[in-house]
C-alpha cells in the first residue's frame, strides 16, 4: 500500500541482524508468490501468522452496518490472504516484546510505525506484546524491517508457535523475588525462536517467568510453561532453579498449571523445555484444534505419564552447548541507574501528584529508587505519547522500561528524588493516569472493535466503566479501589476475566425478539498468587446494565466483607447464590425497543446489535417461549451446580452440569421435534442427527467443538467427579449452553426456526 516500501528494503539491505533480515526477505517473496497464486491461501495464512500478521474483524469482506450485512466494496479480482480473507482488508500486526522489555530507541520506532502504517495507536496486550491495527499486508515487510533494525521481531507472534515469552516487569528490582528472571527469560526466548523442535505444534505455546509466588506479575498458573524462581542451599551454596509448571491456560475452558518439577536447576531449563516441546509436537492433538493445547494432552495422559514421556525424551536429546552457554552472561543483565538515588518528596498540595504517587510508585529492592507505572487506558497510547515516553525514560533512567500484563508500562530505576519531576513530564504527555492496578485500571481484550471472535464490545464496556469510576474518583472506598476488573469480548479469555476479582465476558441473548449484547459476570477469580484460582460465571446481564451490576457487586462486598478480606475469599465465604441475588433484577424487565433502542446496541457502537434482520413472527413466538423456558432452566441448573461445587459436592456438581447440557440440547431439539422424550440417549441422538450431523450447530470459528462437550458428557455418564473434573465439566456446560443460544440465534436469523415434528 505504501509507495515507500521498496525504499526501506533498499535502505536497510544488509543492515539487519540475521536471520531476521533473510526471514523478512523470504516473507516478502511469499507475499509475491501468493499474489501470483503460487501458494495456497491456507498455507499462506499460517505463514503470515507465524510472521505476526493476524486477521482482523471484517476481513471476510462483509460488515453488519446496523441495518444489514453488506459487502465492503473492496477492489475486485485480488487473491485472498487466507481462506475467506480479503487481501486488501486491514489486519493486525503483533509484535513480540520478550518479558515486556523495551528501550527508548525501540519506542521511537514503534511510534513511527503506528503513524505510518497503522492508526496512530500503540496497543499493549495482556501478554506484553505490542499490537498495531489496520495494517495492510503489503506493508508488513517494510514494517518488519524497521522493527528488525532495532532488534524486534514479529516472528512466531501468532500461529501454532511459541508465543511471546512473558515475565515479571519488576524482575531485578522487586523486593520479593528469589532472583532476577530476566536473563533466563531472554535465554528461553532466543533458544526457542525458530527452533526446529517448536515448528510442528497443533496449537500455540505460551511460556512465562515469575520471580516470586505471591504476586500476579508472571501468571505462572495459567501458562503452558511457567517458571517460578526458587533457590536452594546445597553444601552452603545457593543454587538457582525454577518451580516448573506446565499445562496451564485460560481460553474457553481454563486449566490451572500443574507442577512438573519443584526445583528445575537453571542448567536444565533449556533442555527440559526442548523435551516438553518435542513431546507436545509428537503427541499433541493436531486435527481438532480445540483440544490441541498442551493442557489437553496433560489432561488426557495425567501428569505422571506426561512427565515420564518428557524425561524419556530429555534423555534422548543430543547435547546442545546453548543449554548452558547463556549462564555465563547472566550478570550482564544487571541494570544500573543513571541518576543517584534519593528520597521521595513530601506529599505536597498537588493532589493529583499525591494520588498518582500513591498508586503508581513502588519501592524497589534497591534503596533510593522506585518504579513508576504508566497506566494506559485500555492499553492504548498515541504515537506522540510513545515518543514522549521514550524521551522521559531516556532522561531519568538508562532506558529501562517494561510492558506489563495489565496493559501498562513500568519505568524502572527512577530515583525517588526525581519522582515529582517525572510525574510532571508524564502529565504533560497525558501519561500520568493515577490508580495503576486498581479498579479504574481495567484490562480489556480488543473484543468487537477489531477481533474476529468478539461477541460483545469489551473495550466499549471497559471505557464506560472507567469513565464512571473516574467520576467517582476519591469517593471510592479503598476496598473497592483494590478490586481488579477484566473484560473479554467472548469466552476465549484474552482479557483474562477468569483471574480477576470481577470479570466479564461477552455473550448474546434474545430479548423481545432482538439480539442484545450481554456479559457473563465472572466472580471470585484470584489475580494474586500468579493467578492462583479462577472465577466462575454466575449470570448473564445486558451490556448496558453492566455498570449497575458492577456497582451492586462492589457495594455488596463493601457491606458484607470482613475486615481485610480479599474479594476472592469473600466470594468463597458468602457463595455465588447470594452474589447472584443482588443482580437478579438486572436480568428482568428489559425496556422495549420502542422505549429505549439504545438497550439493543453495545457500548460505543450505535449500530443495532444484531447479525440479521430478525422478525417477530407469532408462530416463532410460541416456540421462543418454550425454548426460553427450557434454557432458563438449563442456566439455573448449571448455576446450582456451581453452588454445589462451592459447597464441596463435586459429584453432584458434575452430574448437574451434565444434566444442564442435556436440558439445553433438548430445548434445541424441541424446536424441530416437540415429542422428544426425557431419555438422555434419545435427546443426544436427536441432537446429533438434527444439529451436529447437519452442522447447524457448528460455530463459524469453533465448528462442532461445543457439541463434543455434550457427547463426551453423555458417553461418560455415571463417572466419578473430583473437584477439577467437575469444574471442567461446568466450564464446558456453560460453553455448550452459550453455543445453543448462538445456534438458536443463527437459526432465527436464517428463518429456520419453524416447528417440525418427526
Amino acid at each position: 500500500m505504501k509507495t515507500s516500501n521498496s525504499l526501506w528494503r533498499d535502505r536497510l539491505s544488509g543492515k539487519l541482524p540475521e536471520p531476521l533480515g533473510e526471514e523478512i526477505d523470504n516473507f516478502e517473496s511469499e507475499i509475491e508468490l501468493r499474489k501470483q497464486g503460487k501458494i495456497e491461501d491456507k498455507i499462506f495464512a499460517e505463514t503470515r501468522l507465524r510472521r505476526g500478521a493476524y486477521g482482523q474483524r471484517y476481513d471476510n469482506g462483509t460488515r453488519y452496518d446496523g441495518e444489514q450485512t453488506r459487502e465492503i466494496p473492496y477492489p475486485p479480482g485480488k487473491n485472498t490472504k487466507g481462506p475467506g480473507t480479503v487481501w486488501d482488508a486491514p489486519g493486525m500486526v503483533r509484535i513480540k516484546i520478550p518479558y515486556g522489555g523495551l528501550n527508548p530507541e525501540q519506542l521511537e520506532v514503534l511510534a513511527e510505525l503506528a503513524e505510518e502504517y497503522s492508526d496512530d495507536i500503540v496497543h499493549v496486550t495482556t501478554r506484553q506484546d505490542v499490537q498495531l491495527h489496520f495494517v495492510h499486508i503489503d506493508d508488513t515487510p517494510a514494517l518488519m524491517r524497521r522493527l528488525a533494525a532495532v532488534n524486534i521481531t514479529t516472528r512466531e507472534a501468532c500461529g501454532n508457535s511459541v508465543r511471546n515469552v512473558t515475565g515479571c516487569p519488576y524482575a531485578g528490582v522487586c523486593k520479593d523475588q528469589a532472583f532476577d528472571v530476566t536473563p533466563y527469560a531472554h535465554a528461553l526466548t532466543q533458544f526457542l525462536l525458530g527452533h526446529p523442535d517448536v515448528q510442528n505444534f497443533g496449537r500455540k505455546f505460551k511460556p512465562t517467568f515469575s520471580g516470586c509466588g505471591q504476586h500476579a506479575c508472571g501468571l505462572t498458573a495459567m501458562h503452558d510453561a511457567g517458571y517460578l524462581a526458587v533457590t536452594r542451599e546445597v553444601d552452603g551454596k545457593t543454587e538457582r532453579g525454577f518451580k516448573f509448571y506446565v499445562g496451564g491456560g485460560l481460553g474457553a475452558v481454563p486449566h490451572q498449571a500443574k507442577v512438573f518439577d519443584e526445583f528445575l536447576p537453571v542448567e536444565e531449563m533449556l533442555p527440559m523445555i526442548q523435551a516438553v516441546a518435542r513431546v507436545f509436537a509428537k503427541h499433541g492433538e493436531k486435527k481438532n484444534r480445540n483440544r490441541a493445547r498442551l493442557k489437553f494432552l496433560i489432561k488426557t495422559w495425567g501428569m505422571e505419564k506426561f512427565k515420564e514421556e518428557v524425561l524419556a525424551e530429555r534423555k534422548k536429546l543430543t547435547p546442545d552447548p546453548r543449554w548452558t552457554e547463556y549462564l555465563d552472561s547472566v550478570d550482564t543483565f544487571e541494570e544500573k541507574p543513571s541518576r543517584p538515588g534519593g528520597a521521595l518528596p513530601a506529599m505536597n498540595g498537588n493532589e493529583r501528584y499525591n494520588r498518582w504517587a500513591k498508586g503508581n510508585l513502588r519501592e524497589q529492592r534497591q534503596d533510593g529508587y522506585v518504579t513508576a507505572t504508566v497506566a494506559l487506558p485500555l492499553g492504548d497510547l498515541t504515537a506522540n505519547q510513545t515518543r514522549a515516553l521514550g524521551d522521559i525514560v531516556g532522561k531519568y533512567t538508562t532506558g529501562t522500561i517494561r510492558a506489563t500484563v495489565e496493559q501498562n508500562f513500568v519505568i524502572r530505576w527512577v530515583s525517588k528524588s526525581d519522582a515529582a519531576a517525572l510525574f510532571a513530564e508524564l502529565d504533560a504527555a497525558g501519561l500520568a493516569e493515577p490508580g495503576a492496578g486498581t479498579i479504574v485500571d481495567i484490562v480489556s481484550c480488543p473484543g468487537t472493535d477489531t477481533c474476529k471472535l468478539g461477541i460483545s464490545s469489551s473495550r466499549g464496556l471497559a471505557a464506560e466503566l472507567r469513565k464512571r469510576l473516574i467520576e467517582k474518583g476519591a469517593q471510592l472506598d479503598q476496598a473497592i479501589e483494590d478490586l481488579h476488573v477484566k473484560v473479554s469480548g467472548c469466552f476465549n479469555s484474552c482479557g483474562q476475566h477468569h483471574v480477576s476479582d470481577i470479570g466479564f465476558y461477552g455473550v448474546n441473548r434474545i430479548v423481545q425478539g432482538y439480539q442484545v449484547p450481554h456479559f457473563q459476570v465472572v466472580l471470585g477469580g484470584e489475580w494474586e498468587n500468579n493467578g492462583g484460582s479462577y472465577g466462575l460465571p454466575i449470570v448473564a446481564i445486558a451490556s448496558k446494565r453492566i455498570p449497575d451490576a458492577l456497582d451492586r457487586i462492589s457495594e455488596f462486598s463493601l457491606r458484607e466483607r470482613l475486615a481485610n478480606e480479599r474479594f476472592s475469599a469473600f466470594m468463597g465465604r458468602v457463595g455465588k447464590a447470594k452474589a447472584r441475588a443482588v443482580l437478579d433484577d438486572l436480568t428482568k424487565d428489559a425496556p422495549s425497543h420502542d422505549d429505549d433502542a439504545s438497550f439493543y446496541s453495545d457500548w460505543g457502537d450505535p449500530r443495532e446489535y444484531s447479525t440479521g434482520d430478525i422478525g417477530k413472527g407469532e408462530c416463532a413466538g410460541e416456540v421462543v417461549t418454550a425454548y426460553e423456558f427450557a434454557m432458563t432452566s438449563a442456566e439455573r441448573m448449571v448455576f446450582d451446580a456451581q453452588v454445589s461445587l462451592d459447597d464441596g459436592e463435586s459429584q453432584k456438581a458434575g452430574e448437574d452440569g451434565y444434566a444442564a447440557m442435556l436440558k439445553a440440547a433438548k430445548a434445541l431439539v424441541q424446536i424441530e421435534y416437540d415429542d422428544v422424550s426425557e431419555d438422555s440417549d434419545e435427546v443426544v441422538e436427536e441432537f446429533k442427527e438434527r444439529f451436529y450431523d447437519t452442522k447447524k450447530f457448528f460455530d463459524p470459528y469453533a465448528g462442532g467443538k461445543f457439541a463434543n462437550y455434550l457427547f463426551t458428557g453423555h458417553e461418560n455418564a455415571g463417572r466419578r467427579f473430583d473437584v477439577e473434573a467437575a469444574r471442567h465439566l461446568l466450564e464446558e456446560s456453560h460453553l455448550f449452553i452459550e453455543a445453543v443460544h448462538a445456534c438458536y440465534n443463527r437459526m432465527r436469523t436464517a428463518g429456520l426456526n419453524h416447528g417440525a415434528s418427526k
Binding site: M1, K2, T3, S4, L7, W8, R11, R57, Y58, R63, D65, G66, E67, R70, I72, P73, Y74, P75, D88, A89, P90, E108, E112, E115, E116, D119, D120, I121, H133, F134, H136, P377, L378, D380, L381, T382, N384, Q385, R387, G430, D449, T450, R459, G460, A463, R466, K467, G604, D605, P606, R607
Partner: protein, 186 residues
C-alpha cells in the same frame, strides 16, 4: 522528488464535544452509505486516549479522523494509498478530500457541527522515507506547496510554517488573513 501519502487537517475553531454518541453515529452512517470515493471499512474509537485520533473512519485508501493531536482538534484526512499525478495534485487532493468531509459533517450535524478555521490548515506527509522532516525536504517542496496553496486559496497572501522537529512527520501549516470557504475548495 515525488510526494505521496499527503495528509490534510482542517482545524476546529471552537471547542467541540466529541464525548457523546452523535459523531460516532454519523461516522457509522458514512460507512454504511460509503459516502466518499474511497472504500470505508469501519469506525475506530479512541476517545479514551488524550490528544490523539479521537474517532476514526478506517478506510482502504484513506482514513477520516476527528483528530486531537497536539491539543488542536480538527478533521484529518490521512492518505494511505498512492495517487497518480503531480505533487501539486496530491497536496490539493488531500485538502479537497478533507474539505469535502468537513462540509458533509457540517451539513449532517447542523448547528451541532464544529466551527472550522477559515484561515489555517495543515499538510503532513505520512511517510518518513519519502519526506524526512528536514529543512532540505521543506526546501525541495516549497514551490509545490506554494503552488498548491495558491490554487486552493485563489491568492498568494498566505504564509507557510514548517514544523521542524526532525522526529515528527514532515508538516507545514498554511495561514492566511483572508478567510477561505470550504465550499469553494472542496
Amino acid at each position: 522528488m515525488n510526494i505521496q501519502h499527503v495528509n490534510a487537517k482542517l482545524f476546529f475553531d471552537s471547542p467541540f464535544e466529541i464525548g457523546g454518541p452523535r459523531v460516532v453515529g454519523v461516522f457509522h452512517d458514512w460507512v454504511r452509505e460509503q459516502v466518499f470515493d474511497e472504500v470505508l471499512i469501519d469506525v475506530a474509537d479512541y476517545r479514551h486516549v488524550p490528544n490523539g485520533p479521537s474517532l476514526m473512519i478506517i478506510g482502504l485508501e484513506a482514513d477520516y479522523v476527528v483528530d486531537d493531536s497536539d491539543g488542536r482538534m480538527g478533521l484529518l484526512y490521512n492518505r494511505k494509498a498512492g495517487i497518480d499525478g503531480s505533487n501539486v495534485d496530491r497536496f490539493k487532493q488531500a485538502i479537497d478530500s478533507a474539505a469535502n468531509a468537513a462540509l458533509l459533517l457540517k451539513e449532517t450535524l447542523g448547528d451541532k457541527a464544529p466551527m472550522f478555521s477559515q484561515t489555517e490548515f495543515q499538510w503532513t506527509v505520512n511517510d518518513r522515507a519519502i519526506a524526512p522532516n528536514t529543512p532540505e525536504t521543506f526546501a525541495a517542496f516549497t514551490s509545490d506547496l506554494v503552488a498548491s496553496a495558491t490554487a486552493i486559496l485563489g491568492h498568494s497572501e498566505f504564509t507557510l510554517k514548517h514544523h521542524d522537529d526532525p522526529r515528527r512527520l514532515f508538516s507545514v501549516t498554511v495561514s492566511t488573513i483572508k478567510s477561505f470557504d470550504f465550499a469553494e475548495i472542496a
